[in-house]
């Protein structure tokens, strides 16, 4: 979750996961929603926007009340369910927030936030909020190279950059667009 200091979401990603096992829930993630899941009004969509707005508001309220000198950990049982924790980093106008359960090491998560920020920095050369606003799709790409299904997949920002660059290269190569074969889209429209 990336939110700016005006409570505007800049990046949200939820790795929801229905609980199968009582222990442990290994879900380090941007947000792990468990009990909310059962209350979805529609079964086929990800988190309904009303819900995630509520989460953003809840998180922002907590964060905005915290001065800079305090710890980076907040217990968020009230918002995300029992045992959930949150680490955040406040950088310039942005909060970078990770929410996870008690099966993760808090400081390691904080390190991961740092890796994410460093990667953005490399990618955008002195990242600022505007970069993030206009390149939110790129953020998704970076995030996907770092976290998969709520688990850390890559911790080296160099490796992440390599993958992201490769993706960019692939995009450029094929930007000479060709139409999607009609047969496929027609199949869907039926």
């Amino acid at each position: 979750m990336v939110i700016n200091t005006q409570a505007k979401p800049r990046l949200l990603k939820f790795y929801s996961f229905q609980v199968r096992y009582p222990e442990p829930l290994l879900l380090p993630s941007f947000v792990t929603i468990q009990q909310v899941l059962g209350q979805f009004p529609r079964r086929d969509q990800a988190l309904p926007p009303e819900k995630h707005q509520e989460l953003v508001r809840g998180v922002f309220q907590l964060l905005s009340a915290r001065p800079d000198s305090v710890s980076n950990f907040v217990e968020v049982d009230a918002i995300f369910g029992p045992g959930m924790k949150m680490v955040y980093k406040h950088l310039a106008t942005l909060y970078f927030v990770f929410v996870f359960d008690n099966s993760e090491n808090e400081l390691a998560m904080l390190d991961l936030v740092q890796v994410f920020v460093e990667t953005l920095d490399r990618c955008f050369k002195n990242v600022c909020e505007l970069d993030i606003v206009f390149n939110f799709n790129k953020l998704h790409t970076i995030l996907d190279e770092m976290i998969l299904g709520g688990q850390v997949i890559e911790t080296s920002s160099e490796e992440i950059m390599k993958s992201v660059e490769e993706i960019a290269r692939l995009e450029k190569q094929s930007s000479t667009t060709s139409l999607i074969p009609k047969s496929i889209s027609e199949r869907f429209s039926r």
């Binding site: 979805f40 079964r43 969509q45 926007p49 710890s71 390691a108 996907d144 094929s174």
Partner: protein, 1044 residues
């Protein structure tokens, strides 16, 4: 990424940014959504580029919090696009917008599968990422084998394999069957040999999940984990890009140590040694440095290492090293580390033997309670709560109370609940407990649930010592200008019940009490009004002499509330009004509340229920199981820490009452009559309780005993089986005789020890009081010491009601270490029905437990009940058989008869067996007044003047038993002033057994003061009576033989 090429998206984002308010934003979004909708409808004209652009816009709108309920099909269809950019957008946006249940996803399963098994690595990555993010049952079923293949394939690039690992993890969670454990243990071991750290990190996540589900299956992987740790932490054999601020991949280290914590233990000595070497290196080699990121990373590893050390139950040396480190952390400036230090210290409480070291940091922890960071304050609160015991309860609870003044609202409820629980669990004395709770109500009334004040009332009601104190305190609070309504409730209740105890204090006359309470009446809610009305009625009752003015005032209030809207209050008002006019009847109805039955603290229960079962909380839970409630066990002196016995689960032993005459009716009637008695008890108000104290030094003083209060009641059948052997399992009373018989056989060799307790000959621990003497003292008194040896003191306190009795055994541990395997078994004679409450298995150091014992008298007999009591202290087993002073005179109630009542009765009893006369010789010479005193002490009322001869003595009493109910007994003693060693004794009653038993009983007491002589001389035996052989009256063994 072709962002520059998506001008439309950038424009849209700019527009949104330029919106000044939410309304404008909504308009812009709606316009865009409308646009996208029409474009999608007319799909044919849509270029892939446009499609891609719109899909990104949809994701952006969704993120802003607007509903995007269309276009899903278009999004999903992009996945099937042949070119990378469209495909990528399709995969990313799909995994953000949709979940596993979406129908469109089913339609692309084949496409996804083709991407996964295809040759294009970039497509593989995209597909794996989406499947890993969405999960889904159908994906799991159809794709798991392919994903597995990718993971173990040697030809795949690491970038694919690491994604396959996490994708498989997600599928495994959805459906654990996808990983077949048999094959996977070996495969996993191979995967853990992986050199590429990216792949290894992902594999480790998968491994943690697998091993957490079934550690047994993956034993072979344990050494591999240790090797990975060695590789990282010791050899630092790692590519440059995986060192993070100089630390070799902290994430992998953390994950590996996490995985190791799922194994119950590390048995292999080599692996264990290697592991501890690495851990030692981590523990010692981490310093706080300037660079924040480096600090975080190194401490992430360090804290995980601490957790692993705790889990592995390392040697004490290493543990104290850990505590020392934590002690350092909780004092550093860096808030994150302070936070984690506190958190881990709370976990550390689980480890035995370190609590003392943790306590040394108490001052520092209390400082953290004042930290500006609420996260840290919460951690400090948890830790203080966990580390609290009798030694530091006072300090900690008072600190919490102080903090309550400044705590933010969010924390107050938790804080007050915790303070209340600690006060109850570890109160060094009960007046302190009352103080704490009243302060709590005063400071945070809103957060004090009813449970908390009910509990105070229970304690005060059950402890007479406390009553005037509590009432006085309540009175003080009422003087405060604005008090919380809960305080009004509790004060009014206490003053209603016990206000009269304060009558002599200034400002505490009934009138003044009424006035100050009545001041609150206009402002309180209905539930409080009800309490106030009761209080008024009670004040009125206690006003002696009656005060007409006060009565008028109170009656006016009752009258006023007779038409109140709330039915409960109406009823109270009407009833109190009527009762008040009845005068003395009021006193009966409104007598002091009887003691509350002992019950589990609702508060503690609530706390237990509320606890989420995570590691740190179970630490607290465990401790709360080890430490009994103060109400049950009050330990006065500082107990050595860590001495809380781990085995103390308060398993309680219940001993069934045994009756030889296993007539079903007898137990039925017992049940029947017990109820009226209880009612009688209620009506008469609480029975006078002589004295009580929570102070152990006073307990040494024989008569001072502990007030009853909470207890738990469980009677695990298996424990019973332990005690009584396999026979007990058969259940019926007849079976229960066998163990008694066996015991009898064992005891007969030492039977001639007679009056003394029958100590097992191997007993090295001897009583330090004269047990026989104590028994005889207790025969005429209702409280005192029954037994005492260097380790334990057993006190006793009894209350009698007709043929029922309630005894409480007070077992006080005099040592600083616990008494283990405490067992108590009652061997009742046939005429008594006895039920002993459960006895805790362990008596904590310096603590006292109370064991109630219910007695019912079935018929007259002089047989004595025996308490078979044993415990182990260290290696010594101490076993004592103690006679219980449940003797005939306990069921006597003296009665004074006038001559007009006496003589007709006396004359009516002419039947030989009902009226027995005997010349008793060898009587201890006593002056007549002393003899009268002796009779009085045996509950027989001497009525002077009934017999005209001044040398004679006539006494009357009522004997209660189930068989006889209340039966009048008449006794006449004719003494010879010339020879005081002989007298003629006549006893008459309506029951021949009773007459005989009572005569023998009086004889025993007349012939000698029993404590100076072992056994009374044999008296005549009447063969038709089932009495024991007189020579063995006091030999429990023989007595038991008689029993059978």
């Amino acid at each position: 990424m072709a962002l520059s090429g998506m001008r439309g998206l950038s424009v849209f984002i700019s527009d949104i940014r330029n919106c000044h308010n939410k309304e404008q934003e909504r308009l812009r979004v709606d316009k865009e959504l409308g646009n996208i909708r029409t474009r999608f409808k007319n799909e044919k004209g849509l270029s892939p580029y446009e499609k891609k652009k719109y899909v990104w816009k949809m994701l952006y709108i969704y993120m802003l919090g607007y509903d995007v309920d269309f276009g899903h099909m278009e999004t999903v269809s992009l996945i099937s696009a042949p070119k990378y950019p469209e495909k990528q957008v399709g995969y990313i946006v799909t995994s953000c917008l949709l979940n596993e249940n979406n129908d469109f996803l089913r339609m692309v399963i084949n496409t996804v599968r083709n991407d996964i098994i295809g040759r294009n690595e970039t497509f593989q990555c995209l597909a794996l990422t989406m499947v890993g993010n969405i999960g889904g049952k159908e994906f799991s079923e159809s794709l798991a084998p392919d994903v597995q293949k990718l993971l173990i394939s040697s030809s795949c690039r690491p970038v694919v394999r690491k994604k396959a690992a996490l994708c498989l993890l997600r599928l495994y969670r959805k459906n654990p069957d996808v990983v077949n454990i048999d094959g996977w243990a070996d495969r996993m071991a191979q995967l853990l040999d992986e050199r590429d750290l990216g792949v290894l990190t992902s594999v480790m996540s998968l491994f943690v999940s697998l091993v957490s589900n079934n550690a047994e299956a993956y034993w072979n992987c344990l050494p591999k984990c240790v090797r990975i740790l060695e590789r990282l932490a010791r050899n630092q054999d790692i590519p440059q890009e995986y060192t993070y601020y100089g630390i070799p991949s902290p994430w992998l280290q953390v994950k590996t140590m996490r995985a190791l914590q799922y194994f119950p233990t590390v048995e292999d000595p080599n692996a264990r040694r290697a592991l501890f070497e690495v851990l030692q290196r981590i523990l010692m080699g981490t310093d706080v440095v300037k660079n924040v990121n480096k600090n975080n990373a190194s401490h992430a590893v360090l804290f995980e290492a601490l957790a692993l050390v705790m889990h592995l139950d390392a040697e004490k040396e290493m543990m104290s090293q850990c505590v020392a480190l934590l002690g350092k952390f909780i004092a550093v400036r860096e808030p994150n580390i302070r936070y984690l230090g506190l958190e881990n210290m709370t976990r550390m409480l689980l480890v035995t033997d370190v609590q003392d070291i943790i306590k040394r940091h108490q001052a520092q922890i209390i400082t953290s309670l004042k930290d500006p960071d609420i996260s840290i304050r919460r951690r400090a609160l948890d830790l203080l709560y966990g580390m609290c015991d009798v030694t530091n309860a006072k300090e900690i609870v008072e600190e919490l109370l102080q903090y309550l003044n400044t705590a933010e609202f969010a924390m107050r409820e938790e804080l007050s609940l915790k303070a209340a629980i600690l006060a109850e669990k570890f109160a060094p004395d009960l007046s302190w407990y009352v103080d704490v709770i009243l302060q709590l109500i005063d400071k945070a009334g809103d957060f004090v649930s009813d449970d908390i004040w009910y509990r105070v009332v229970q304690f005060v009601t059950n402890n007479e010592d406390l009553q005037s104190y509590a009432a006085g305190k309540a009175r003080e609070y009422l003087d405060k200008p604005a008090i919380h309504e809960t305080m009004v409730k509790v004060s009014a209740y206490l003053l209603g019940e016990y206000g009269h105890l304060l009558a002599r204090r200034p400002g505490c006359s009934p009138k003044e009490l009424f006035a100050i309470i009545n001041d609150k009446l206009p402002t309180v809610s209905t539930s409080t009004v009800a309490i106030l009305l009761s209080t008024y009625a009670k004040i009125l009752m206690h006003t002696q002499p009656p005060d007409a003015g006060l009565q008028q005032q109170i009656l006016t209030i009752f009258k006023k509330y007779e038409s109140y809207i709330d039915v409960e209050i109406q009823q109270r008002a009407v009833e109190y009004f009527e009762l008040s006019r009845k005068g003395s009847a009021l006193a009966d109805v409104l007598a002091e509340m009887p003691k509350f039955p002992e019950r589990e603290s609702a508060l503690l229960k609530k706390a237990e229920d509320a606890e989420v079962d995570t590691a740190e909380q179970s630490a607290i839970k465990l401790r709360s199981q080890q430490q009994t409630s103060s109400a049950l066990v009050v330990a006065e002196h500082p107990s050595a820490n860590g001495s809380a016995p781990a085995a103390n689960h308060l398993t309680l032993v219940k001993v069934p009452s045994q009756t030889v005459s296993d007539i079903p009716e007898s137990s039925a009637t017992y049940e029947e009559v017990s109820n009226p008695t209880v009612e009688a008890l209620k009506e008469n108000g609480p029975v006078e309780v002589e004295s009580k104290a929570t102070d152990i030094s006073e307990i040494n003083h024989q008569t001072k005993v502990e007030p009853p209060s909470t207890s738990r009641s469980t009677s695990p059948a298996d424990l019973l089986a332990d005690l009584l052997g396999p026979l007990a399992i058969e259940g019926p009373p007849a079976a229960e005789q066998y163990p008694v018989q066996g015991l009898d056989a064992n005891q007969s060799p030492v039977g001639d020890l007679a009056l003394a307790t029958l100590e097992d000959q191997s007993n090295s621990v001897q009583p330090i009081v004269n047990v026989e003497e104590k028994f005889h003292i207790l025969c005429t008194k209702d409280s005192g010491v029954l037994y005492e040896d260097p380790h334990i003191q057993i006190g006793l306190k009894a209350e009698w009601r007709a043929h029922h009795g309630r005894l409480v055994l007070f077992m006080g541990n005099k040592n600083t270490s616990p008494l283990m395997s405490v067992r108590a078994l009652i061997l009742p004679p046939s005429h008594l029905k006895m039920e002993l409450s459960s006895v805790p298995d362990t008596i904590p150091p310096r603590a006292q437990v109370q064991v109630p014992l219910e007695v019912a008298n079935l018929r007259a007999s002089r047989d004595v009940a025996v308490l078979d009591f044993s415990y182990t202290f260290g290696t010594a087993l101490v076993d004592a058989k103690l006679r219980l002073p449940v003797v005939l005179n306990k069921f006597l109630q003296p009665i004074n008869l006038s001559p007009e009542e006496f003589f007709p009765q006396w004359k009516a009893l002419t039947v030989h067996s009902l009226k027995v006369q005997e010349v008793v010789k060898g009587v201890k010479p006593l002056p007549l007044p002393e003899m009268a005193n002796l009779f009085m002490s045996l509950h027989m009322a001497v009525s002077p003047g009934l017999d005209t001869n001044p040398n004679n003595l006539v006494a009357c009493t009522t004997f209660f038993s189930e068989a006889t109910r209340a039966m009048l007994c008449l006794i006449r003693v004719e003494t010879d002033p010339q020879d005081r060693t002989q007298l003629r004794l006549t006893v008459a009653s309506g029951d021949q057994y009773l007459t005989f038993e009572l005569k023998e009983f009086i004889k025993e007491h007349l012939i000698d003061i029993p404590r100076t002589q072992a056994a009374p001389p044999p008296g005549p035996v009447q063969p038709q009576l089932p009495a024991a052989v007189p020579a063995t009256y006091n030999d429990p063994g023989a007595m038991l033989a008689g029993l059978l």
